[in-house]
Amino acid sequence: MRYLPLTPEDRAEMLRVIGAPSVDAFYEDVPRTARLGGKIDGLPDHQGELAVERHLSALAARNQAASAGPFFVGCGAYKHHVPATVDHIIQRSEFLTTYTPYQPEVAQGTLQTLFEFQTQVAALTAMDLANASMYDGSTACAEAAVMACRVTKRKKVVLSGGLHPHYAAATKTLCEAQGLDVVQLPAAIDGELELAGAADGETACVIGQSPNVFGTVTDLTPVSEAAHNQGALLVSVFTEAVSLGLVTPPGEMGADIAVGEGQSIGNPLTFGGPYVGLFAALQKLVRQMPGRLCGETVDADGARGFVLTLSTREQHIRRDKATSNICTNAGLCALAFTAHMTLLGEKGLAQLATLNHEAACDLADALEAIDGVEIVTPRFFNEFAFKTPMNAEAVLAMLAERGILGGVRASRLLPDAHMDDVIICAATECTTETDIAAFAGALKEIV
């Protein structure tokens, strides 16, 4: 077996040194009745690279890749171009095959990039500081909710009607397990500001999203003011990190905690994961933050270096007193994020964001021109919802038959919202005028 260096001779010699008759000796503590003789059945024996590659390539061939045709699917994951350099960097053995940087003297590569990542995320969100990543945007959102409850010592969490339904669900799951109350405002395309009225004296935090799941961008400043008046926090969510180049960021709207999905920068779609959760907060909340933090220090020679710090918040030190149970996070995806962001810089991100917005505007123009089609998102960045005269599921199926992936039906995310005729679609820098023409043309035929 190509991955196993020991030879039969090695094994015999090692058993001799150990003084064990055979490897079975090592398994003597296994209850007799539970010991397996021979191999586990129902599974094939080992195979060479070529065979494995053939099988998995065949499976891959049964999926329609985003680049294979006109593509407009969004709702929390976005098709962007990632520079080839980024993939080269994350495949460096020294980044790919190392562990969490517990031994800083031989992990400065990982640590310095984390420090740069934290700085980039803080700057993008316009917050004081950020952690070294969470699993993804949805789990970051859930952690933000419970953190807000710890900070405020309150138990009520209010979710906007535009928060990504998966984020809302993940948040409910975690909160309810901890005996916290979650109030979900009814699904609304342009309802983020309703959070302002929803905060009361029991409220730990209100959670709003901009751009929200329908693509609507909202200045949440009124919400943060209302929340703060009630002693509650604003958790500001985003699922499209590229929007931070153009749209008002959480820190400019008075957010206390900003969480979001970082996939759009540096990471491929990969059917939903692995992604990278971004988590930023105000300085004063730092000791309540979940996840790892990388900080600057010096070594014995006085040279600048970086280490993981404030770990007294974490499970491996504080165990049942920890702020979260997270251990492994999204290291390599964070590296991809920071590498792509390092190439973009402020200038590149602003330009990229503008291209995304213009592509979406062009798409909106093209779809609006079709009668029966109505854009229902009032203000948007690179994603919006539209109404079709037909059932959305049927429309998307017919588009798919034509090789066009036209977006997500609202009913898939919100089965109870009575939005069976609503499609949410996104455009990015990868969207060409031909793609838009193909989409509009096909949609016209269908409806």
């Binding site: 190509r2 010699e13 090692m14 150990i18 090592f26 398994y27 503590d29 296994v30 539970a34 191999k39 586990i40 094939p44 080992h46 590659e53 499976l59 049964r62 999926n63 994951a77 495949q91 460096r92 053995s93 020294e94 790919l96 562990y99 969490t100 517990y102 400065q108 590569g109 740069e116 004081d128 950020a130 949805s138 998966h166 799951t173 397990a177 901890q178 909202t218 749209v247 779609l269 059917f271 990278v276 220090t297 010096v298 070594d299 280490v307 710090t309 770990s311 049942d320 920890a322 149970n325 251990c327 492994t328 996070n329 590498a339 390092t342 190439l343 973009l344 330009q351 998307l396 798919a400």
Partner: protein, 524 residues
């Protein structure tokens, strides 16, 4: 796994050993100096070329960014150098043995990286019509079948994003089962051995349980007497969280009895599967009375650890817990097509809900199935046996110079205490001295039940020659430690950096770059 679990960060002896003959450039031979991107680049430049925007009027309704990020953009040559230079300051499996106990740092096959990048996997969207991702759904289903077969469990939840997330999944399932039994308010006590990984108690708390710690026996296993005692009044027992093989690298030989006792007490048995690598193909958790167990694909099944993730923690469930599994999950229809159950209703009416967005760590699934198919049933079993053999070989070779924490054979990792070490020298000094010898240290100060613990997990992908080279180096460092060699206290000497000051980092945290850090940004 975790470092310095004593919570006492290291403070180096400062300025004692300044490296002489400095260079002008700040580099030394091949080791290149590299500053922070904020010191290298400027916000006015960028490393990407994009078409010029048309300048059409926006539909943002004025919700626009007002402040600047000030983030630099590096030209591509600068960016490539930045990361390549920094990478060379990391230790990695590809450079040598990475004996972090409980972390299973094994070889990461490049075939898996290649396949995970096929457009058919890397370039598909989680929300595109399910008819257009049948290959992806089938792959997840195939992986699930492997996991269920290897563990002998009837069900598996695929969405957990890492081990700790899998623990959350398992404990949420238990909570849901208790709710279904109408006992969730009373059954809140979860037994957790003192040797458990930090995520176990942390997870129990995250799920609203209370933690009741059980001691370990002198032989490193759960104290059955104490367990019985704690179960004497079982009405409030929710369950137990036990790692097996445990964090001392030992198999809990009473595991079936433990399972029976817990079940009799009306509780459930959560098994932390982080150490599954030791027993794959030799025993199935399903035959041991386990109700839930997470599997770290990024340990047992070789998906790269990436300097701290991403991971993937599919969680197998017993008949008793299966109905409460989270959404989404995949169902194969009569017509051979696959579909996703995404809502906790109908087919999933008892599901405790959703853990996260979308369908789990697809990128890790591709790598894991590629690893499994490559090994096959025969190879996986051989891998487990070799992992255990390698650990026992190290234990046998080191016994004479170091203090083995327990008698007898170990499983996949060898645990030592600092009993053999002279006063004034600590486990951490041994760790840092190993760095000079070209090795990443073992896990230090964990598990807590052993004083000055050193937990060594070589994994099966080490050759005998590499093991011998490591043992020779460790042996000599251990002798120096036993002899009280004070030079250990300043190690490492040959690493890219000398020992770092963690105390200072925590006292005045500087967590982001700022031209010069105003005190405002140091945490109070």
């Amino acid at each position: 796994m975790t470092m310095n679990n004593t919570g006492r960060p290291t403070t180096p002896i400062h300025g004692k050993a300044k490296t002489e003959n400095e260079t002008v450039s700040g580099s030394r031979g091949l080791l290149q100096r590299e500053d922070l991107i904020f010191e290298v680049g400027s916000p006015a430049t960028t490393g990407v070329d994009l078409p010029a925007p048309k300048g059409r009027k926006t539909r943002l309704g004025g919700v626009e960014r007002r402040t600047q990020t000030g983030l630099p953009g590096l030209s591509e040559p600068q960016a490539v150098r930045h990361y390549v230079r920094l990478s060379q300051r990391n230790y990695a499996i590809d450079l040598g043995l990475f004996p972090l106990g409980s972390c299973t740092m094994k070889h990461n096959p490049r075939l898996n990286e290649k396949l995970a990048r096929l457009p058919g996997f890397a370039d598909i969207h989680p929300m595109q019509p399910q008819a257009t991702v049948q290959g992806a759904l089938q792959l997840i289903d195939e992986l699930a079948t492997w996991l269920k077969t290897l563990t002998g469990m009837p069900a598996v939840a695929m969405s957990p994003k890492a081990g700790a997330h899998g623990e959350l999944c398992g404990m949420m399932s238990i909570r849901a089962a208790l709710i279904a039994r109408g006992e969730s308010d009373v059954r809140k006590r979860v037994l957790v051995p003192a040797s458990a990984h930090g995520t176990n108690p942390a997870t129990a708390i995250q799920c609203g349980f209370v933690v009741d710690e059980i001691e370990a026996n002198p032989d490193g296993r759960v104290s059955m007497d104490q367990l019985r005692e704690k179960l004497s009044e079982p009405s409030d027992i929710a369950g137990i969280m036990l790692t097996n093989p445990n964090t001392c690298g030992l198999f809990e030989r009473d595991i079936k009895e433990i399972a029976d006792l817990i079940h009799d007490a009306g509780g459930y048995f959560y098994c932390d599967g982080a150490n599954f690598n030791a027993i794959v193909g030799r025993v199935r958790p399903g035959d041991l009375g386990i109700d839930a167990m997470h599997i770290n694909l990024h340990k047992t099944f070789s998906t790269p650890h990436g300097g701290g993730g991403p991971g993937s923690g599919p969680t197998v469930l017993s008949e008793a817990l299966a109905p409460f599994a989270p959404v989404p999950f995949i169902v194969k229809d009569a017509d051979g097509l696959y579909h996703l159950v995404e809502e906790d209703r109908r087919e999933a009416e008892h599901s405790f809900g959703r853990l996260c967005a979308f369908h789990g760590q697809m990128g890790m699934f591709v790598r894991a199935i590629s690893y499994m198919l490559s090994h096959g049933a025969d190879g996986l079993k051989q891998a487990a046996e070799d992992a255990v053999l390698n650990a026992n070989y190290i234990q046998a070779r080191m016994r004479s110079v170091m203090t083995a924490a327990f008698d007898g054979y170990c499983m996949h990792e060898a645990l030592f205490s600092d009993a053999f070490v002279a006063d004034g020298i600590e486990t951490i000094d041994i760790a840092k001295a190993l760095i000079d010898e070209g090795y990443h240290p073992m896990t230090m100060y964990f598990p807590l039940v052993v004083k000055g613990a050193m937990l060594v997990e070589p994994t099966e992908t080490e050759s005998k020659a590499e093991l011998d080279r490591f043992c020779d180096a460790l042996e000599q460092v251990a002798r120096r430690a036993a002899a009280g060699d004070q030079s250990l206290k300043q190690a490492p000497y040959f690493a890219p950096m000398r020992r770092l000051d963690e105390t200072q980092a925590a006292r005045k945290p500087v967590l982001r770059w700022i031209p010069e850090a105003p005190p405002a940004l140091a945490a109070e």
